[in-house]
């Protein structure tokens, strides 16, 4: 790609204070993400994936190196970055539509407009008819759809997903992977997603970064040259199996 990268990560390190010298979560990580690219960060637990994503969101400051987002250094959260957490993280006192409207409210967008945008998002994530439902009455998959809608409603440039389907059961997880693929194909955002599922990464990503366990370093920066648009069938092709084998080997 010839375009300017949206995100440049330079020599990023993160150390957590921890008595004897500290716990090194990330060590000298560098990579770039280009517009409309879908990047998956893959690694075993404890490889600092979530730490990396929290730094990219501006929620955490790195102890070394820097993140350059759209030409300027990122040192605090930004409204044009959407974040989806491991848990759906909905406000239990707000209905589905009110939860989705939250980012717009914080931007002081008029309630009428906010509701219109939120209803569009409800349609996009396939939750029509559940607008007035409270989170306690939603299944895990539905709640995570709301979370995705909420992260997209204010039309961020960059979407960060922190193991968004990690808390779901295997079948729901697979279905949500397909859903996310569909949503992304409809709204081409730049995405960085953390996951520990190889098939999820291959299904969705243009590029996969494989991290080593503690401290997290980039072991492999791997382009996924599977044709787009992709669908469920791609899981059963020999190319997919071959790539799975390569990634599996890289994770170790």
């Amino acid at each position: 790609m010839q375009e300017e990268p949206v995100l440049i990560v330079k020599n990023l390190s993160a150390v957590f204070p921890n008595g004897n010298g500290g716990l090194q979560a990330l060590d000298q990580i560098s990579f770039s993400v280009f517009p409309q690219e879908f990047v998956c960060v893959l690694g075993p637990s404890g490889s600092g994936k979530s730490t990396l994503l929290r730094i990219l969101a501006g929620l955490l400051l790195p102890t070394g190196g820097k993140v350059i987002y759209q030409g300027s250094e990122l040192d605090e959260p930004r409204r044009d970055i959407g974040f989806v957490f491991q848990k759906a993280n909905l406000m239990p006192w707000r209905t589905v539509i009110q939860n989705i409207m939250l980012p717009l409210e914080l931007d002081n967008i008029s309630p009428a407009d906010a509701e219109r945008y939120a209803r569009e998002m409800v349609k996009l994530v396939g939750l029509c008819g559940f607008e007035e439902t409270l989170p306690r009455d939603l299944s895990g998959g539905m709640a995570q759809r709301v979370a995705i809608a909420r992260a997209l409603v204010h039309d961020p440039q960059l979407l960060l997903l922190d193991e968004p389907f990690g808390a779901l059961d295997a079948l729901t997880r697979e279905r949500m992977g397909m859903e996310l693929l569909r949503i992304w194909q409809a709204r081409r955002k730049t995405v960085v997603m953390v996951t520990h599922s190889i098939s999820e990464a291959l299904l969705l990503a243009d590029r996969v970064l494989v991290l080593t366990p503690r401290p997290g370093r980039i072991r492999l920066d791997f382009p996924v040259n599977l044709p787009r648009p992709r669908d469920e069938e791609i899981r059963y092709t020999p190319e997919f199996t071959e790539l799975t084998r390569v990634l599996r080997g890289a994770i170790g």
Partner: protein, 282 residues
């Protein structure tokens, strides 16, 4: 420190109890009427069979006549209004100070460490012991009663404000931060609604205690209010008047309690409902 160690389990417990309180009390009212009637009948029976003099145990009829008398001479209403005024102002003052202080305690661990020893110490001294000092300092008028009342309200509201605010999930704080919310947006859209269930639990306790606070103040030194009326009745062996005053106090306390319960029902309708009685969580 000491005050602030409350587990999530306790908070959950608290929430469950609030949920239970909010629901299904319409049949409870019907049952309450039946039980009150039975209690009044038993009371009448005991006073009748025991043949007690009226200044030891007045019969329900004696109390009723005393009630009618104190209504017609205006003394009950006049004194009730004084007590009610003390309660409302004391509650307002106590809840406001406790909520604001509680917010800063919940937010700053350093502040909490500086302040909480004093708060714990103040709680170990019974209010009856402080009341005379406050009356010496601030006079026998209404102001000292408001202070005493607000002091009794203060602690449960403070503790529940702190616990309520700390029960707001860290992840939701992160969400608000990732959306770059302002301080005020975080307070109004996350912290207030998030802390509300536990806070209202504290308010419910505080509302009932406020009645005690006002009466303690009046006991120690005053020439009006329901506490004064009780003192008066006791001094004159007018036990029926004591009963009338006590029942009025109970009525005030239950009304305040009911107001908070209605408030909870309104504000916490998003919480899971289950069936239970009003009083269970006391």
């Amino acid at each position: 420190m000491g005050v602030m160690k409350f587990s999530m389990k306790q908070i959950d417990q608290n929430n469950i109890l609030i949920n239970r309180a909010v629901n299904s009390y319409r049949p409870a009212i019907f049952l309450a009427i039946i039980s009150l009637t039975i209690a009044a009948f038993l009371w009448w029976l005991i006073s009748r069979l025991g043949n007690f003099p009226s200044f030891i145990l007045p019969s329900p009829m004696d109390v009723w006549h005393r009630f009618v008398l104190s209504i017609t001479d205006g003394s009950l209403l006049r004194n009730s209004l004084v007590t009610l005024q003390e309660i409302v102002l004391g509650l307002t003052l106590g809840v406001s100070v406790a909520t604001i202080l509680g917010y800063f305690l919940a937010k700053s661990h350093t502040f909490e460490k500086i302040i909480s020893p004093y708060i714990v110490a103040s709680q170990s001294v019974p209010i009856v012991a402080i009341a005379p000092i406050l009356i010496i300092w601030f006079g026998p008028g209404i102001f000292s009663k408001i202070l005493i009342c607000s002091l009794t309200v203060f602690f449960p509201v403070l503790v529940n404000t702190v616990v309520g605010l700390r029960s707001v999930p860290e992840e939701l704080q992160d969400l608000m931060r990732s959306l770059k919310s302002t301080r005020w947006q975080t307070i109004s859209k996350l912290e207030i609604p998030g802390a509300l269930p536990v806070f209202l639990g504290g308010l419910r306790v505080g509302a009932t205690l406020s009645v005690i606070g006002a009466v303690v103040g009046e006991f120690v030194g005053s020439d009006k209010g329901l506490g004064f009326l009780i003192n008066l009745g006791r001094g004159q062996y007018d036990t029926a008047l004591v009963f009338v005053s006590v029942f009025t106090l109970i009525l005030i306390a239950m009304s305040l309690y009911g107001i908070v319960v209605i408030l909870e029902k309104r504000l916490l309708s998003w919480q899971q409902s289950s069936k239970d009685t009003i009083l269970e969580h006391q």
